[in-house]
């Protein structure tokens, strides 16, 4: 995400159900033209100030907001993942999200039941997925929080897998049910430990809550955000530099060192 800002990308469309502070940063940095999401803010503190400034005052630029519920985002991605133009649903009836929505239309039940809504397919150009481990071909093992990760990887034209570890393919083959993304859907595999911070990665990293809070505080003002952006993004070359800048004192407590292993599953034929 930070590299996207460093590369000064422009006019991006962001897609996600519940966005974390990454959305707020990309918006406040002026890289975003449109947001397709159900919730944009700071999961820790509430309001996303960068998002609000862009939406309310057009600072640093105007953004177009396509409002969704979690389920309609999920269905839009699932429709694309299934190779369908739409999926029907009952969610949202009677509310304003679906009223005049560019991607949601009323549709009849061909079997004569009550009317539904059709959620149009949403096909991202790129999905960036963080997983625990993948092999060199992109076959990815993911556990813990899933959300819409799989739908996004299936739906996207290109999927980039960022992993804590690239492992020998035998590790992946040992548990094919844990492979949520088959390698032939993956365009690139990146080994980037800690690449998901400040978010958590089950079994690897705890949530860096302090960073959520401090970003929330600082981003209240444009100046605060600019200084945060300089310190944590623009003045750092890459993710290892980010981790060094955090320092061991902050980083080590976030690293998961104890083990609570999944019960054995025997795949012997």
């Amino acid at each position: 995400m930070h590299e996207v800002i460093r590369q000064r990308r422009r006019d991006l469309t962001l897609i996600g159900p519940i966005s974390d502070m990454a959305f707020d940063q990309l918006i406040a940095a002026g890289t975003v033209a449109k947001v397709i999401a159900a919730w944009v803010g700071n999961v820790a503190g509430g309001s996303g100030y960068g998002f609000r400034r862009a939406y309310e005052q057009g600072q640093p630029r105007r953004i177009v907001m396509e409002d969704h519920s979690n389920f309609t985002v999920g269905l839009a991605l699932k429709a694309a993942a299934m190779g369908l133009p739409y999926l029907p649903t009952f969610t949202g009836l009677g509310g304003d999200i679906v009223r005049g929505h560019p991607r949601i239309r009323p549709v009849d039940d061909p079997f004569g039941g009550p009317g539904l809504l059709a959620v149009g397919a949403l096909k991202p150009d790129v999905a960036i997925i963080h997983v625990q481990r993948a092999d060199a071909s992109g076959n990815a093992h993911l556990w813990g929080n899933l959300g819409l990760t799989v739908e996004a990887a299936y739906a996207a034209r290109r999927t980039i897998v960022v992993c804590e570890e690239i492992v020998p393919d035998e590790v992946i083959r040992s548990d094919p049910n844990r492979t949520v993304i088959p390698g032939f859907l993956v365009s690139a595999v990146v080994e980037e430990p800690g690449g998901a911070l400040p978010s958590s990665v089950q079994g690897y990293w705890r949530r860096d809550f302090e960073t959520f809070l401090s970003y929330h505080r600082l981003s209240k003002t444009v100046e605060g955000f600019e200084s945060w952006l300089r310190e944590w993004v623009l003045d750092l070359r890459d993710r290892p530099a980010y981790l060094r800048h955090m320092g061991d004192a902050a980083l080590e407590p976030l690293r998961v060192t104890d083990r609570r292993l999944a019960a054995a599953a025997n795949f012997a034929p």
Binding site: P17, I18, A37, A38, W39, V40, G41, V43, A44, G45, G46, S47, G48, F51, R52, Y55, E56, D67, H68, S69, N70, F71, G74, L75, K78, T89, F90, T91, G92, L93, G94, G95, D96, I97, P114, W143, G144, N145, L146, G147, L148, T149, V150, E151, S199, S200, Q202, G203, R206, R207, F209, F212, V256, R260
Partner: protein, 249 residues
């Protein structure tokens, strides 16, 4: 003698009382999450909790969590599915009760968490999240609100989570829990069931931007017991959610 407690703590107790034993509960964060844990620890030991990110738990997380995706909420869960999986169960009608918070509410129980010009200038709120889905698809919904006149409006600017409307297939707002009392919403109007100790009917009406039904002899919300407070304070030791003042939703 009753231990002192915050209004947030009283709201948690009220939320817990909305959960019946054996029910499948769509759990939110903050107060409803504490309410679910409290219900499990007291009168609803077999209730099951669904989280919109796909987590299914039959007991609260062992450690304090800031978000439903935090590792302690996954460790020890009975299932960790995808968002669409739990939403599908919700759409199927397998969820008995869901909790939603809102920034604005109207008499029909419509909630706005998207955008408002109530205070004059445009204010952007985070949006629906799973709120609209829970409001649309759960067997019944319990709403949690800060009780302020500006939040209780004759008509909300934007219906993020639909309340009662003609042709609704299922569910709808059943109960509203606020910083001032507990209200029944099932009839399409806001009717006081109980007001929190020290709150008068007049104060409740003044704090509401539309007419509510409140009996002069309305009872007081039963305060938390020592055990209930004990549970809440062990689950939220720093009062991150239950200390004053309430964090805005």
């Amino acid at each position: 003698m009753i231990a002192t407690y915050t209004r947030r703590e009283l709201m948690v107790v009220a939320a817990a009382r909305e959960i019946h034993d054996g029910e499948v509960v769509f759990v939110g964060m903050r107060l409803p999450l504490l309410g679910f844990g409290l219900a499990k620890a007291t009168h609803a030991p077999t209730a099951v909790g669904l989280f919109e990110n796909g987590v299914i738990r039959d007991r609260p997380a062992a450690a304090f969590i800031y978000t439903m995706g935090d590792p302690p909420n996954i460790a020890g869960a009975v299932a960790c599915l995808g968002l669409n999986d739990v939403m599908s169960l919700l759409q199927q009608g397998r969820v008995d009760v869901g909790f939603i918070g809102g920034a604005e509410i109207d008499p029909l129980g419509n909630l706005n968490t998207t955008r408002t010009s109530g205070s004059g200038s445009l204010v952007r709120l985070p949006g629906s999240g799973g709120g609209c889905d829970i409001a649309s698809l759960a067997g019944r919904t319990v709403l949690i609100m800060e009780h302020e006149p500006r939040r209780f409006r004759e008509r909300v600017d934007y219906i993020t989570s639909p309340g009662h409307f003609p042709g609704r297939r299922r569910g709808g707002p059943a109960t509203l829990i606020t910083t001032l009392g507990v209200f029944d919403l099932s009839s399409g109007q806001v009717r006081a069931v109980s007001l929190h100790p020290g709150v008068t009917p007049a104060q409740a009406q003044e704090a509401t931007g539309f007419t509510i039904v409140v009996d002069d002899r309305v009872r007081a919300t039963t305060p938390p017991s020592k055990d209930e407070l004990g549970y809440i304070r062990s689950a939220d030791p720093e009062g991150f959610w239950t200390g004053e003042p309430m964090k805005s939703g």
